[in-house]
Symmetry: C2
Subunit: 792 residues, 2 copies
């Protein structure tokens, strides 16, 4: 698996704009300064999955640490009580707005999908009723084709990052990796419209993943106080223009998205906690919970409105809630056997799905690289295949006479939704496969989850359903439309769950609908490897707490089995995208390597002096890609009077701040320290929060080149440091736990003439993959066990 | 509040064995070495709340960091794949056992309580039926008196730490503070029996808190592989004899306890996550979930058994599950008004309760200090007062005729439990106050939560109930029996909730039972300040997901209102106990102080050389209380050839390892470095995990005093460090996030002659309270806002 992704990374490399290549173009005659910090792995690209041509610029790490320089401290001290209260109030207001907007947009998406799909299905049913099968077929395929075309064109042309689920990128963002163009307003709009189109077109994908991304986009845009692009910026939101607050908001957004997708507020919070977020605090738990509560209130209002019939073709499955609370869930100790079987099957099938999806995505990547037209064609081909199967396969199924105990209005139906579709059958009969296929995905899930209907489906129909959705689940995910993974997996899982239920029927009391639910849960755990959050989401979906112990059991088994084969689908996608994601636990062999050894293989660190010549700064900025530089003062008078060769570590300065100093021409004629007020006149803390990294825009004339800049007030005087003797494992724990961007390595020797800072470690340097590229023998020692050891 | 606790701390100080006094007794002529690290605050005692005479020795910080010395590394490298799998398997086995045992013990406790209380109530009802009121009274009081006496004597004489809920101590443990004698087998047994006695005696306390403590005790004992005391130790559990693994196990245990208390598996996990744990990982989430799943399965089996009538007097309320799922929960937007009122009331009353309880506990503390007899008398007085009220007050209530629509078997009842108790009423009538008072607490909660019974209770009865339980809730908690806070708060909250429901009745659709539930939820949020976990616990208790949005809303309001008055009850208790708990977020003023300034006010750090003279080690160990010493090599040949005055920071050595080296007489005749094999012959990694801190037991003769010890192989070569210019805020974040015990402070200057390690920071040094004692002016600058800023 690891080797595969490496190869893929290399293939991606050839066609995409990747950081190193950009750098080399800029400055072809590389001197020692612009060598990469470490031999970076070749997968460092951020190509949106299976999409080529995406405008990917530069992946920067986020600053989750507080940059404690003079200006920050000044600002910090001067913040009045009112400002602090204002800040707290705004935090909550933003959490409220995130919830409100996510809820409203989710409502809008649901309304649009249900109405478009409802209109389509009613028309097709009408054709079939008139026995105009070909016309119905053409209408169905044509309708879906157009919808897919709209979604796909939008994604391909305007916002390539809107394709796919977006959850892996959000996970990476919260880990500290900023994928560019992920959270802009264009992405948001394309995601909304694209999601409506793709889901209404009946493709095997859900609106759940996209809703998570939409929630995060809303949060990010709100957090920035609007967007630079459209000149909408609220000044009073300037306090939130930093990575820390934006991270918190995006966590709220992601939770709200999950909540909106499943109407599962607690599940949404737990999903963020278990799967998405890297850092977590109790206070954040609370705020996230508030956002999801708002979402739920909005959705509840919307459902009340729709129940009174004001939503047009809005079907029952609008917000998937599989109400199996009318089943009397009763199970005995003996039912542990079928439940165990479902769990094991879920684990095996889930990991198999992950494995196959990985292969398919690699193949799609090659196709998508050939250009926009290829991307479009791929999407449309999948759409047509899906439509043909959904329309054609029900003709293979036998017609079943309705249960006479059911009222005529229920069986058969020709309406928008319903569990017994007449399709091509004579009066009083229904087509069970049409019930599952010729409907929206949400309704299909409702129907297959339906309880107390043990004889509704034929084994053959369920088998066809299951196989079809296995194929669709594999081929649909990678196409250029917004797509979620939840629904395809639920459909597949419910298929084999219900099948198993039919086989086990005589030996167990568990209802077939419940089997379908458990199948879906097991496949999700087998593929996504979540437990608590899935359990709660399923609880909130099925609205039946008695299911809890049995669901827990299935999820635990499925996850355990799945973990013994491969990694979770999100981790596989993260790996495919080459995002530098820092794992929770260090690898075992990382204890055998010290940061000193790691720093030794890197080029010498570039340090700046406290008062530095402009020419040198410009030179350093032009010739390196580093984003942080240690600031060291030399030859100082020590408090103890020692002056001979003494040096002082002053701190760390960021590239953006250096560029700002140059842009503002904050130069000194002579080499001297500045006063506090001088800095404050020139810079504000808010300005420093802006990220500008383009040194090319800075014009410095020759005279200015000979002047000096006092870096002291702009330097973060409190960088985190490690001794060179510290193991990489511990450095990584520190790096991840505290949320760092740069970590200074100090010498363990204390003497004159010793370099005061012997290196800087960044996220890239601590990635297992990158370290192994330089120290390949480490993995052999006892690294083989680490996969096992880590996943538990 | 802060001042109060300081005074209290001082009063505790006078009577308790506190670390400084012990030290001073031992070595009255203090030299510079044995000065405390920082002027420690006077509340550093670990007196169990409102209990005096508890044998408290020394509160040590836990080592959550991996001590990477030579021996560990050797052991780490040599661990085979089989051993790693064995370790993982054992981890899961232990999680399973924790769940199983907690479930079984919870079952046992429930069975015992329900049978004892049931027997008692039936007998009393019998007396009353015969109109032998005085005999009934004496029987009732006498029974409760004996039960309380048993519980109290056990707690006072054998395990003072078993009194109270134990949750604050667990919270402190998971934060890194080891309260002594908290998790031993004696505590466990006393807690079980004491809890049975106290709850069966009808005292206003619950088994919930004690169950959390019991779960943690089981986890701790299992993790140690038995206990030293009783010579039961399993060798194959030696891998778990470290603070990290024990911490994880105790987290599992606490979750299992909550789960067993409320039959709420997800709520249990979330409770640990939100309220108890300081560190959290995804993999721990999963294992905790597994434990709670096991608990639920055990409880489910037990309930099935009891439903078939094999549990004697086991009542319906055995495991409190307030099944309001038969209510059609319907609420409109207008119902937001009563819900808001409940939330605000909950916040106000909750914080008021916290405030008053704090005062009561301080008073009790004074009483309890006077000796064991006083403790016993206090407990018994409270027990008698409770019994008198519970028996006597129902006579004040009017008899109500039964609703004729109810069957005779339901109203009135004279049985074990039931919603319409006849008590002293004529046939066909019931006494509503007896329904609430003369029953177990669990049944009382069931009755007051009962839905669709709008005319069951009189306003006056509810008022009496509410006022009585307010008084009992305040006076019962601090007595010397195992007591949980959950149930008293639920009882109080449901009282005012139902009262409010009666007043609001004409204006709302919400059922009175639901009002009671919401009242209980609001008061819990107002006092304990949890949201997500409470919400899930209430969901799982009431088994009704439709309550979710409304519960969330109430909890959020109550917490917000409560937070604006004071801190959560657990934090108040932690503060009362003087446990050095590290808060999640640094105070605002901590950014204005550097660790360098902090270290300056401490005495100079005591460092050891890599190869150190035995006499010096003994001297240092005898004359300091420090648990860690930096190891520094001097005059070394540097790689670059500089030798003049160069020093090298080698790492940090723990006191226990020094003592082990002395005990094992691992001495060298000459000053030299040892080889790897020499160490491995003498020490094993497992032995080093033992904690021995008693230097007095070590006998070193005069000849040995002149010999040397090579400390290098025992030194942790990878200590975490900070530069002296780093702010205290950042150091604290590092300390807490990574779970440290010692943090080395390095000089920012690099030159010969500079001390290589200028200080060590411990937990005590980073506590806001301790820092403010030395730098009182810091709080004035902008510290006033920090309370507000921190709680959000």
């Amino acid at each position: 698996m690891g080797e595969d992704s490496k190869q893929l990374g290399e293939s991606i490399m050839k066609s995409c704009n990747v950081i190193e290549e950009q750098e080399e173009e800029r400055d072809p005659e590389s001197n020692s300064l612009n060598q990469p910090l470490l031999k970076r792995n070749r997968t460092l690209s951020s190509t949106p999955l299976a999409l080529v041509g995406a405008k990917v610029s530069y992946i920067e790490s986020l600053d989750y640490e507080i940059n404690e320089n003079e200006l920050f401290k000044q600002d910090w001290r001067s913040r009045s009580r009112v400002q602090i209260l204002q800040y707290i109030f705004l935090k909550w207001l933003l959490a409220f707005l995130v919830g409100l907007l996510t809820g409203l947009i989710a409502t809008l998406i649901n309304l649009a999908i249900e109405n478009i799909a409802g209109y389509k299905i009613l028309a097709v049913v009408d054709y079939i009723h008139q026995e105009r099968y070909l016309a119905g077929f053409l209408y169905f395929c044509g309708f879906n084709f157009v919808l897919t075309l709209v979604a796909s064109v939008l994604c391909v042309c305007f916002a390539p990052t809107a394709a796919g689920p977006g959850i892996p990128e959000i996970k990476a963002y919260l880990n500290g990796v900023d994928t560019p163009n992920m959270y802009g307003p264009t992405t948001l709009i394309v995601k909304i419209i694209g999601s409506i189109g793709a889901v209404a077109a009946g493709l095997d994908l859900g609106k759940e993943g996209p809703l998570v991304h939409i929630g995060s986009c809303i949060a990010s845009i709100l957090g920035q106080g609007g967007t630079d692009k459209y000149q909408i910026k609220w000044r009073w939101l300037r306090y939130f223009n930093n990575d820390r607050d934006r991270r918190d908001l995006i966590t709220c957004g992601a939770s709200s998205g999950v909540c909106a997708a499943f109407r599962a507020p607690v599940g949404g919070v737990l999903f963020s906690l278990e799967e998405v977020a890297t850092w977590w605090r109790s206070s954040l738990l609370w705020r996230t919970f508030f956002s999801t509560a708002v979402v739920v209130v909005v959705l509840k209002g919307f459902i009340q409105l729709c129940n009174s019939g004001k939503c047009g073709h809005f079907g029952q499955g609008g917000l998937i809630i599989f109400d199996v609370s009318n089943v009397t869930v009763s199970y005995q100790l003996m039912d542990i056997i079928p439940v165990t079987i479902i769990g094991i099957l879920g684990g095996v099938l889930g990991s198999l799905y992950n494995h196959l999806l990985h292969k398919v995505l690699r193949l799609y990547n090659l196709i998508n690289q050939k250009g926009r037209i290829h991307k479009l064609l791929l999407s449309l081909a999948v759409a047509i295949f899906t439509s043909v199967c959904q329309y054609g396969l029900p003709f293979l199924a036998k017609c079943t006479p309705c249960d006479p105990s059911l009222p005529e209005s229920v069986c058969p139906t020709n309406g928008r939704s319903g569990n017994f579709k007449q399709f091509n059958c004579p009066k009083g009969h229904y087509n069970d496969l049409a019930t599952l296929l010729l409907t929206t995905n949400d309704d299909a899930v409702r129907n297959i989850f339906s309880s107390n209907t043990p004889h509704e489906f034929y084994t053959s129909s369920l088998l066809i359903f299951f196989v079809l959705y296995c194929i669709l689940g594999l081929i649909t995910f990678g196409i250029a439309v917004p797509s979620g993974l939840f629904l395809p997996i639920i459909l597949m899982g419910s298929g084999y769950g219900r099948l198993l239920g039919m086989f086990m029927g005589p030996h167990t009391n568990i209802d077939q609908g419940l089997f379908a639910v458990l199948g879906a849960a097991s496949l999700m755990a087998g593929s996504m490897r979540m437990t608590v959050s899935l359990c709660v989401i399923f609880l909130e979906l099925t609205n039946n707490l008695l299911l809890l112990p049995i669901t827990m059991f299935v999820l635990l088994i499925a996850k355990t089995v799945g973990d013994s084969f491969n990694r979770s689908i999100y981790e596989i996608i993260l790996d495919l995208k080459g995002l530098p994601f820092l794992e929770a636990a260090p690898e075992r062999w990382m204890r055998n390597l010290t940061v000193g050894e790691l720093v030794d293989v890197k080029p010498a660190v570039v340090t700046l002096h406290g008062v530095e010549k402009v020419a040198h700064i410009v030179d350093v900025l032009r010739n390196t890609t580093h984003n942080g530089f240690p600031v060291v003062d030399e030859g100082l008078a020590l408090p103890t009077g020692v002056t001979n060769g003494a040096t002082e570590v002053h701190g760390l300065i960021l590239r953006t701040h250096l560029i700002q100093a140059l842009k503002k021409k904050w130069f000194l004629k002579e080499k001297r320290r500045t006063e506090d007020w001088e800095v404050r006149e020139k810079f504000t803390w808010v300005e420093l929060a802006e990220r500008e990294t383009n040194i090319e825009e800075v014009a410095v004339n020759r005279e200015e080149m000979e002047m000096f800049v006092d870096l002291h007030p702009l330097t973060n005087t409190t960088p985190y440091t490690v001794l060179e003797s510290v193991s990489v494992a511990k450095a990584m724990v520190l790096f991840r736990q505290v949320g760092l961007r740069h970590l200074l390595v100090l010498p363990k020797y204390q003497a004159s003439g010793v370099t005061p800072v012997i290196g800087i470690l960044t996220r890239q340097d601590l990635l297992a993959h990158n370290i192994l590229a330089v120290f390949p023998n480490l993995a052999k020692s006892n690294g083989r066990e680490n996969k096992k050891g880590r996943s538990h």
